[in-house]
Symmetry: C2
Subunit: 257 residues, 2 copies
C-alpha cells in the first residue's frame, strides 16, 4: 500500500517503521517541523514535507498521527483528496473524522511508545474501526500485515480502553516514581525495585490481577497499614493515595473479585 | 550450610528451593500444618515437623519465614538453641528478633512470590542486616550463594523499602484490576492491556519512571482528563483515584522530576 504519514511523534515513528518493514511504501512524511519530518522520512525512505499543500495525491492512505486537538484541522486540509484516512487516537471518535472525510477509519495502537526503546510491533494490539464494512476490512487486512493482535473496537469501547490504559500504564508508572522518591530519601537506589516491578507485570500476563494481588491490604494486615500511614504523615497527598488504593483492594477482595 | 526453614508459605518455599539448589542442606521444614511442612520438605529433601519441640539442634541457621505477628512467638521457642537466626520480613525491625536471640539477622527478599510462577532467584534483591559485622558478613556470604543482588539495608531503610514496594507492586497490580473491570464492563478482554502493562514495566528497567511518563496528565491535556472524569461519574472512588494520581503526575512534572 502507498501510505502517507501525517505527524512525526512516537506513534507516527513506530507505525511508519512497522509499515515500511512490512513492505508498504511510505510516500511522504509531514510535520510542521521540517527537521522532524526529514528525520522520520529518512528512516522510512520517504519524502519529507512541512506544508500540506505539498501533499502527493498518489497515495492510498493518510495516517493522521498528531495531537488529538489537531486532527480536525488536518482532516479539513486533506478532505479534498477523497482518500482513505485514519486517525490513531484512543480518545477521539470516528465521527470527528468521518464528518469531514467520508472514507474514514481509526487505527489505534494500544501501546506506550518511546524514542528510547525499540518495540516488537507484532505484539502491539491494533484497534481498528471503519465507517463501513469495506473500510473496516481494508484496515483490518492492513493491520494484520504489521501485528498479530488486531481487534475491531467501536468508538465507545475505544474511549473506555483509553481510560483503562491510563489506569494500567500511566498511573502505575507514576507510582513507580513515588517508590523511587521514597527510596531516594533514604539513600537507596531505584535499582532495588526494578525486579519487583517487572515481576508484578509479568505475573498478570498469565493470571488475572485480582488473583495474584499481594501486600498488606489484601491480607487486611491493619498493623502494617497503620505503620505505613504513619511513615507518610508528612506527605498528605501520598497518604491519601495509600488509603484510597488500599481501600480499593479491600473492597475488591470482599466483593470476591 | 545446614539450614532449618520455619514456615511453608511463598517466601519459605522459594528461599528453601534456592538454598537447596545452591548446595546447602535443608535440615527440617516446620509448619503448624503437617501437610504444608511435608510438601515443602519433600521438595527440598528435608524432614517435616509440625512441633517446635522436634527441632533438630544440629543446624547452622534458622530462617523464620512466617507472618510478621508470629515472628516473636517462634523466636522465643528457638532462643534456647543459641543459633544464628534470621527473619525474612520487610516490615519488622531487627530489634524485635535480636531482643530474643542475640545472634540475629534479617534476610529480606524484595520480590513478589507466587505459587503459580517460577522465579529466577539470582535476580531477586536480598536485603541483609545483622546484629554485628560478623553476622552481617556471614549472611552476606550466604546470600551471595543464591542471588546476584545482595544489599546491606538497615532496619529503618528496610521499612521504607517495604512501603515503597507497596507503591511499586501492590498498588499497580490493583490498578491493573481496575483497568480489567473497566474493559469487562464494555465486553473487552484484559488481553488487550497485557502488552501495555509489560512494556510499562520494561521501560523503567533502563530509565527512571519520571523520564518515561506518558498520558494526559503529563501532557496537561485538560480536555481528555475532563472526559475521563466524566466517564467515571458513577464510580466516585475511581474518580478520586484518577484525580489524585493525575494531580501527582502534574505536580511531579512542575517540580522538574
Amino acid at each position: 500500500m502507498r501510505i502517507t504519514i501525517i505527524g512525526s511523534g512516537n506513534v507516527a515513528t513506530h507505525l511508519a517503521a512497522a509499515f515500511k518493514n512490512a513492505g508498504h511504501r511510505i510516500v511522504q512524511v509531514y510535520s510542521r517541523d521540517m527537521q522532524h519530518a526529514a528525520l522520520l522520512a529518512y528512516h522510512v525512505k520517504a519524502d519529507a514535507i512541512d506544508d500540506l499543500k505539498q501533499v502527493d495525491p498518489e497515495t492510498d492512505l493518510f495516517v493522521i498521527a498528531v495531537k488529538d486537538d489537531a486532527i480536525a484541522t488536518i482532516a479539513n486540509q486533506l478532505a479534498g483528496f477523497k482518500k482513505l484516512t485514519v486517525h490513531t487516537s484512543g480518545a477521539t471518535d470516528l465521527e470527528s473524522l468521518s464528518a469531514i472525510i467520508p472514507q474514514a477509519g481509526v487505527f489505534y495502537p494500544l501501546q506506550t511508545f518511546s524514542k528510547e526503546k525499540e518495540i516488537d510491533f507484532w505484539q502491539v494490539p491494533l484497534c481498528i474501526e471503519g465507517v463501513d464494512e469495506t473500510v473496516t476490512t481494508e484496515l483490518e487486512n492492513l493491520a494484520q500485515t504489521i501485528s498479530n493482535r488486531v481487534y475491531r473496537i467501536r468508538s465507545d469501547q475505544r474511549k473506555t480502553l483509553h481510560l483503562a490504559a491510563v489506569f494500567a500504564c500511566n498511573f502505575p508508572n507514576y507510582l513507580y516514581d513515588v517508590a523511587r522518591t521514597l527510596l531516594a530519601n533514604k539513600n537507596m537506589d531505584f535499582e532495588l525495585l526494578r525486579p519487583l516491578i517487572l515481576e508484578t507485570a509479568e505475573k498478570v500476563q498469565d493470571n488475572l490481577p485480582a488473583y495474584v494481588q499481594t501486600g498488606p491490604a489484601v491480607r487486611e494486615d491493619e498493623l502494617t497499614m497503620a505503620n505505613h500511614l504513619k511513615m507518610l504523615d508528612d506527605q498528605p497527598q501520598l497518604k491519601m493515595i495509600y488509603e484510597l488504593l488500599s481501600q480499593g483492594i479491600i473492597t475488591n477482595k470482599k466483593a470476591g473479585h
